[in-house]
């Protein structure tokens, strides 16, 4: 790839574009109480939110892997009527405002929701529970995993699968022993992106699962609540989220671009 001098106007607008993203981050870092950083992050409220966020985001990633990898396989390998529509529906949460997702989850799985009434009848309550927060995070984050894995499946070399089949391997064995190892990098990248998105989830969580320290108050919710009373804690938690997200994007740079 050769380098060339950009027209002055493009360069100027690009610089404004960069500043637009860098300045808020700089503002956040400038306000961070670095001297007491560790103290702020080890306050009970911060530790509770950190712990809960990791549990919820990891559980959401696990659930997304369980359901998302099969879904990606179907999308990549099985042409059926309405596939594009179904794929669009299942990736909708990527661009849907998360609050809308939360409202939709409430109307589906809430106590008076379409399916929630049946769940309630057998004693299962999802809103206001940690599992509800996991569902909210999975809802918004799983599409990233599905798209990444589907891209991996479409670009893999299928001759290995054919070879395995000619040697007598069944469909499940081919998937388990040939396909899955070949797409492992995509699965890993998808899982990491999904985890990062789950970690940052706010709107669907607060709408569907509510906000209770230790049960559903994840890092972003804790940041929002603490901003009014304990801004130092809010800023340090934001810095943690920022650092994790940045590390993931830098590490996933090539893969992220290739997936889409």
């Amino acid at each position: 790839m050769s380098s060339e001098r950009p027209p002055a106007l493009l360069a100027a607008l690009a610089i404004v574009g960069v500043a637009f993203f860098i300045l808020p981050l700089a503002g956040l870092l400038a306000r961070a109480p670095w001297q007491s950083a560790l103290g702020e992050l080890t306050t009970p409220e911060a530790l509770t939110a950190l712990r809960l966020s990791f549990v919820i985001s990891l559980a959401a990633t696990a659930l997304a892997l369980l359901l998302g990898v099969p879904l990606a396989w179907i999308y990549a390998r099985v042409p059926f009527r309405g596939r594009d529509l179904i794929r669009a529906l299942t990736t909708l949460p990527m661009i849907l405002p998360p609050v809308v997702g939360g409202v939709a989850l409430l109307f589906a799985f809430g106590r008076r929701g379409l399916f929630g009434q049946a769940l309630d009848a057998i004693g299962i309550r999802l809103p206001f529970t940690t599992f509800g927060a996991i569902l909210a995070a999975t809802f918004v984050a799983m599409p990233l995993l599905v798209l990444t894995v589907e891209a991996g499946l479409r670009s893999m070399d299928r001759r290995y699968e054919d070879a395995a089949r000619t040697l007598g391997a069944g469909r499940w064995i081919v998937f388990r022993r040939v396909t899955l190892p070949l797409i492992a990098p995509s699965v890993f990248a998808g899982a990491v992106l999904c985890w990062a998105r789950a970690l940052g989830e706010f709107g669907a969580t607060i709408t569907f699962a509510g906000n209770l320290p230790g049960t559903t108050q994840t890092l972003p919710l804790a940041v929002y609540i603490a901003l009014e009373t304990r801004p130092e804690v809010a800023i340090m938690l934001s810095v943690v989220l920022l650092a994790v997200s940045l590390a993931i994007l830098v590490a996933m740079r090539d893969r992220y671009l290739r997936a889409f």
């Binding site: 809430g110 206001f128 509510g210 906000n211 209770l212 320290p213 049960t215 929002y224 009014e228 009373t229």
Partner: protein, 247 residues
């Protein structure tokens, strides 16, 4: 060059007639606690009838969020808080002075219509079969709710601490929560979907609402007139219609 000329022409075309024909409209941006949502929308409409050159822009949210926004430079002209503590934050930052109390409010237990769980008072909120939602303790309504529960000697375990009092009301009206502690005015505004259970005087907490012009208001005089209006008999009548008490 031709582009510049075109833009200049376009600008004159836009600007010059409005200078002579239509009266200047002034925006008044009002930051108000979410419990004021319905009352202020109506009060704003009423005020605009006699002051046609005003257009209100309302920003409703928890008073604590609004105070944080204002102290961080949000362009508010008027701030109405559901408690004195958050007004004090704005006063301490030197961003407002001499607030006036224009209304007061009381708490009520919001329950789904028909009160299916037969909640009779604050003591019932500690029952294990009750899904209780409160506002976050950082929010005025949440702080008042904890005060009322303390007065009643009740230890309640909410399943969620919502970001403002309207979110509490929504969780009850959607049927997700069996009960929530909100303002009398909130129950009245959602009368079709929730019912209110009264809290006796000895457990009651009175919320006082201060209002002030924010420093740097685009038109402080006009902003002040809106505050005068709210404290006038006409303004008080509208507030009373939504269930607010006199200051």
């Amino acid at each position: 060059m031709r582009g510049v000329l075109a833009i200049a022409l376009l600008l004159t075309a836009c600007v010059s007639p409005s200078r002579t024909e239509t009266p200047q409209i002034t925006d008044v941006t009002v930051f108000a606690g979410s419990s004021l949502t319905d009352a202020f929308a109506r009060a704003g409409d009423d005020f605009t009838k006699t002051n046609t050159r005003v257009r209100f822009i309302f920003n409703f949210g928890s008073s604590s969020t609004l105070a944080t926004q204002i102290t961080n430079g949000a362009p508010a002209d008027v701030f109405a808080s559901a408690d004195e503590a958050n007004m004090q934050k704005v006063l301490d930052a030197g961003l407002a002075k001499s607030p006036r109390t224009f209304a007061s409010n009381e708490l009520q237990i919001a329950v789904p219509t028909g009160n299916p769980k037969r909640i009779a008072g604050l003591a019932d909120l500690a029952r294990p079969d009750i899904v209780l939602v409160l506002a976050a303790p950082t929010v005025p309504a949440g702080k008042y709710a904890l005060e009322a529960l303390a007065k009643a000697g009740v230890t309640a375990r909410p399943v969620s601490q919502e970001v403002d009092v309207r979110a509490v009301l929504n969780k009850v009206s959607l049927g997700e929560a069996d009960a929530g502690i909100v303002y009398v005015t909130d129950v009245r505004s959602a009368a079709a979907r929730v019912a209110g259970v009264a809290i006796p005087d000895q457990q009651q907490v009175v919320a006082r609402y201060p209002i002030a012009v924010v420093k740097g208001a685009k038109d402080p005089q006009l902003a002040g007139q809106f505050i005068d209006y709210l404290t006038s008999p006409e303004g008080q009548k509208i507030l009373a219609g939504f269930g607010f008490s006199r200051p």
